[in-house]
Each structure stands twice: as structure tokens, then as C-alpha cells.
């Protein structure tokens, strides 16, 4: 028996399988080494990196909701240079693709991030976060305005030799429109969705449960919304789509592939089952074998509508 073929191609890169881990939910990879054979994964997307180190938002930063969670981490990260010096050496050895999620406060910051990371060995692609709801300036504005989204994409693409994946915000009217804009801007792929803006209140204290008042909703609760958006975007653009949002099981992953995603990212599920990403790789392998497919990509976009 031959190994099931799970390879997919995004931005000219071949991934050994379509299962990536979502930014901010998998640390810098090492945190999950006790639970997952990192080299079994298609790739990992590391926590969002900004030019300077960031403290992030004050606590409390997370709250559980029905079937999901709100977070307002606020892009706490070690900053570009410490990331390169402290995290990349380990990441180069994990035997899978490393995608760096970047976030800037201005076009120029995005450019500089893209430029500097292009010089670093061991990075496969950039995921440009124009959609984080937890940072006051920058982030969201870029993600909700098509012209801005296009401009950011163009800026990063022009200054970076790496494939550029743009990560879209769901907190918009028409996500397909933003997707088309970043496609025009030169993105090699889009990934979606980032978290949905939400809120929770502690009735006893009458205060928001998050110090930041609002936060981003993730987890199984948002899966139906994410799947709908991925389906809409997959029809609107020609570049590959990476599906994100509440993916917890192999079935969930297959739903996104059927809807048109070329790959998926596992996010919040990593917290509830640290082995989730690897289990999905294994599940997809079984699916390919059981259904006698030549390659997992035979599922992509195969949603039957008639």
C-alpha cells in the first residue's frame, strides 16, 4: 500500500498536507512538541509578530463562551528581532513549513516586516494579519476597507520575496470583496477567518469580562460562519483559500475543503485537544485511503449543489 497523498500547493509551495496551525493558538511550535509530532503537520503559523515587542492587553484576556472563547490578547509578542534570534533556530529544525504571521501599525511597518523576514532562512511564507480585532490602531481598519487591504498587500508583496497569504477579517459586509481586493494587490493566497468581535459581561460586577471590553470570538461556535465565508471567497477569487474557524475534527476539515479551501488552520481546537492538528492529518489520510483518492485535492471545492 502506498502512502496516501495529502500534498497541496499554495503560492508555489508544496505542503505535505493541508493541515496548518492557526496563529496565536500554537505558540511558537515548541509548546506543542510534547503532544504533536510537528513534522507530521503541513505547517505551522506562528503567533503574530510586530516590529517591536508588545506587552499586549491587560488581563483578564480570555473568557469562555458557549462553544467558543473570546480573547483579547492584543498581539503580545517578542517582536521581530527577538523572534528571529530566539524562535527561528528551533523552528528551522521542526521539519515542517513555518509561516510567519505579521501585524503592523502602518503600511511602512508591514513593508519592513516583510522585507526583514524575507532575509531569514527557514520561513516558507508570510501571513499578513489585516484583521486582528484586538489592537486599537492599524489592524482592523486595513481589514475592513478594500482599498486599504489592497494597499497593504501590495506593500508587503513589493518588499518581500516570500509568498504572501493575507488573513481576512470576518467583521465585514462582504468578505468576498476584500478577498478580491487583496488578490488584485498580489496576494498568493487568502486565509480566513480571523475572530469575530464579541463581548461578555460579568453580571455580578457589572463589568466587561475582558479588560479590553471586546475580544475576538473563536472556536466551534463560529464554524458555520467561517465555512460560509470560505465558500463565498473560494467562488470569488482564483488564488488558494485557507479555511480557518472552529475546525476541531477531520470532518470539520473536510467541510472546509469541500467548500473550496486548499488548506485549513486549526486554532482554538489546539487548546481543548493539543493533538487535534495531528489527528486531523491522520483522519485525512484515512479519508484519502478509504475513498481511494489519488490526492486529497480531489475533495477541494467538490461541494455538490444540484
Amino acid at each position: 500500500m502506498t502512502q496516501p497523498d495529502l500534498r497541496v500547493t499554495i503560492g508555489g509551495l508544496v505542503f505535505k498536507n493541508p493541515v496548518l496551525t492557526a496563529s496565536g493558538t500554537f505558540g511558537y511550535g515548541k509548546e506543542f512538541a510534547p503532544y504533536v509530532n510537528l513534522h507530521h503537520l503541513g505547517g505551522i503559523v506562528v503567533k503574530g509578530i510586530s516590529l517591536e515587542e508588545r506587552r499586549g492587553n491587560p488581563p483578564p484576556r480570555i473568557v469562555e463562551t458557549t462553544g467558543g472563547m473570546l480573547n483579547a490578547i492584543g498581539l503580545e509578542n517578542v517582536g521581530l528581532e527577538r523572534f528571529i534570534a530566539e524562535k527561528m533556530p528551533y523552528l528551522r529544525g521542526i521539519g515542517t513549513r513555518v509561516i510567519v504571521n505579521i501585524l503592523g501599525n502602518s503600511l511602512e511597518e508591514y513593508q519592513r516586516l516583510g522585507q526583514r523576514l524575507s532575509e531569514i532562512e527557514g520561513i516558507s511564507a508570510l501571513e499578513v494579519n489585516i484583521s486582528c480585532p484586538n489592537v486599537k490602531k492599524g489592524g482592523v481598519a486595513f481589514g475592513t476597507d478594500p482599498a486599504m487591504a489592497e494597499a497593504v498587500t501590495r506593500a508587503v508583496c513589493a518588499h518581500s520575496s516570500l509568498p504572501v497569504i493575507v488573513k481576512l477579517s470576518p467583521n465585514v459586509n462582504d468578505i468576498a470583496q476584500i478577498a478580491r481586493a487583496v488578490e488584485t494587490g498580489g496576494a498568493q493566497a487568502v486565509s480566513l477567518i480571523n475572530t469575530l468581535l464579541g463581548m461578555a459581561i460579568d453580571v455580578k460586577s457589572r463589568r466587561p469580562k475582558l479588560a479590553n471590553i471586546v475580544g475576538g470570538l473563536s472556536g466551534p461556535a463560529i464554524k458555520p460562519i467561517a465555512l460560509r465565508m470560505v465558500w463565498q471567497v473560494a467562488q470569488a477569487v482564483k488564488i488558494p483559500v485557507i479555511g480557518i474557524g472552529g475546525i476541531t475534527t477531520t470532518e470539520d476539515a473536510l467541510e472546509f475543503l469541500l467548500a473550496g479551501a486548499t488548506a485549513i488552520e486549526v486554532g482554538t481546537a489546539n487548546f481543548i485537544n493539543p493533538r487535534a492538528s495531528q489527528e486531523i492529518v491522520e483522519g485525512l489520510a484515512r479519508y484519502v485511503t478509504d475513498n481511494r483518492l489519488n490526492n486529497i485535492s480531489e475533495v477541494i471545492g467538490e461541494l455538490v449543489l444540484a
Partner: protein, 263 residues
């Protein structure tokens, strides 16, 4: 790193007091590597409500295969936990976090309030195991007598001779807060005080330790999603309120009192 994921089997789930349970599990990997002050993250249900794992301190290891958790029913997760029966499985990750530091302590005082008693028992066992155990005083607080259940006796059974209790309602021991007993029982030795419990209690303990110059280690709680330093949800401010936040699941849950801010 000696963390792992383990499908633990429930041996016993005893009700010690109206809302307090003690869960004994077969979890050899975790039992083997556990240190006092560390915790596990328990996946309460295979469904997605509750979604997140729940952090629980390791109350003790028994032999090389079992661990015990001591928990209070406060919400839906712990309520489901209380309904589990022997033979059922509970998925755990652990042991997690940075536990108590035992090096070079000659006189120790353990101050526990409510479920804060959970990790202190494991610590006491470790302390009493030494060939010449240090001087050891245990102070335990609860809202009311019944909430102690068999716990004070458990400390006595492992050789702790100086144990003092306090209850908010005066139903057993000192009528008032446990922190008030500190200065009555501690002399001018270089004490190391270990404390875990409600925030106001720990704050009071820390403030006395600072005054007296006693070393103090505190075990803290925050909301947690991952327990393994990946989500960055468990941030707390440093003592000087500046610089990057500390993360309770990795830098803690046990900290030196002077490392963290007492707001």
C-alpha cells in the same frame, strides 16, 4: 519537558463536603513527573460546552500511578466533574507549570484557604518525606468547619504536628481570617511561607511576610485556555507593573511573592 496527554481512569470520586470532592485517578505518566504546585488541565466533556479544559492543582500523587485532585463545584465544569463515576475516563494534560521551590528551607509555614489547600497537601507530603524534615506549621482556613472535610487530619497523618485552623464563621478554630494567625505562630526564624487560596487571603499573607522579612511563595489562579504558554491568556502584571506580563501557566502558578503585583 515532561508534559503529556493522558487518558486517566477514575478510581474514586469522593464527596468530602457539600460542594467539595476528591477525585482519584490512574495517570501514571503524570503521577511520575509531578511536583508539588503543578497542575493538570482536565477535558471535562467530549462535547464543546464547556469548551475549555479546566486547570486543577495536583493534590497528591499516590504510589507511582495515581494522582488526586481536590475540587469545589463552582460552575458547570466542576458540576460535570462531580457526576463522573469510577471506571470513566478523564483526559488530562500535565503536569503543567512551575511548582513550589523547596531548596534550603529550614522552617516552613503552609497557609491554605479553601481549595488553596489542594496543592499544599502535596507540598507537605514532599516536605515531610525528608530524612530530617524542617520545622513545619500548617495554617488552614475555610468558610465553615464542614468545608475542611478530612483535610486537617490528612496533614496530621503525614506527620505535621503544628496545624491551626480558622473559619470565617467561627465554627472551628480561630474565628476570622487565617492570615491573622501568622504572627501568632511564626517566630523570628528565616521562615519560608507557602500560600495558596483566595486573593485577599494571599495578599494579607504576603503583606505580613514582607513586613517580617519572611520568604513567601504564592500559587496563583487566572483564567486559562491552554495551560502550556501558547494562548497567552493567563497574563498577570509584574511587581513593578512594567515590562512583559508573566504567564501563570508557565512562569507560575507558583511565584515568589515579590515577583508579582498585589493590586
Amino acid at each position: 519537558m515532561n508534559q503529556c496527554e493522558e487518558q486517566a481512569e477514575i478510581v474514586r470520586n469522593e464527596q468530602l463536603a457539600p460542594e467539595i470532592f476528591r477525585l482519584t485517578l490512574t495517570a501514571p505518566e503524570i503521577a511520575w513527573h509531578a511536583h508539588p504546585g503543578q497542575f493538570v488541565m482536565a477535558r471535562i466533556s467530549p462535547c464543546y460546552d464547556p469548551l475549555l479544559r479546566r486547570p486543577l492543582s495536583i493534590h497528591q500523587t499516590i504510589g507511582s500511578h495515581q494522582i488526586q485532585l481536590l475540587y469545589k463545584v463552582v460552575g458547570k465544569g466542576t458540576r460535570i466533574l462531580a457526576s463522573l463515576s469510577p471506571g470513566q475516563k478523564l483526559n488530562l494534560t500535565g503536569p503543567l507549570g512551575h511548582g513550589f521551590d523547596l531548596a534550603g528551607t529550614q522552617a516552613v509555614c503552609l497557609v491554605g484557604g479553601g481549595m488553596g489547600i489542594a496543592p499544599l497537601y502535596f507540598l507537605a507530603k514532599e516536605i515531610m518525606r525528608a530524612t530530617t524534615p524542617p520545622k513545619c506549621i500548617v495554617l488552614l482556613g475555610a468558610r465553615t468547619a464542614v468545608e475542611f472535610g478530612p483535610l486537617p487530619q490528612d496533614f496530621i497523618d503525614i506527620g505535621v504536628t503544628k496545624i491551626y485552623l480558622a473559619t470565617d464563621d467561627g465554627s472551628l478554630g480561630h474565628h476570622g481570617y487565617i492570615a491573622e494567625l501568622l504572627h501568632q505562630h511564626l517566630d523570628f526564624h528565616p521562615w519560608t511561607v507557602y500560600t495558596c487560596g483566595p486573593h485577599p487571603m494571599m495578599k494579607a499573607v504576603v503583606s505580613q511576610c514582607r513586613k517580617q522579612g519572611w520568604e513567601c511563595q504564592v500559587s496563583l489562579e487566572t483564567m486559562m485556555a491552554c495551560g502550556i504558554a501558547a494562548c497567552l491568556g493567563c497574563a498577570i502584571p509584574r511587581a513593578d507593573l512594567s515590562g512583559p506580563y508573566l504567564h501563570v501557566c508557565k512562569d507560575g502558578p507558583v511565584f515568589k511573592a515579590e515577583e508579582v503585583a498585589w493590586l
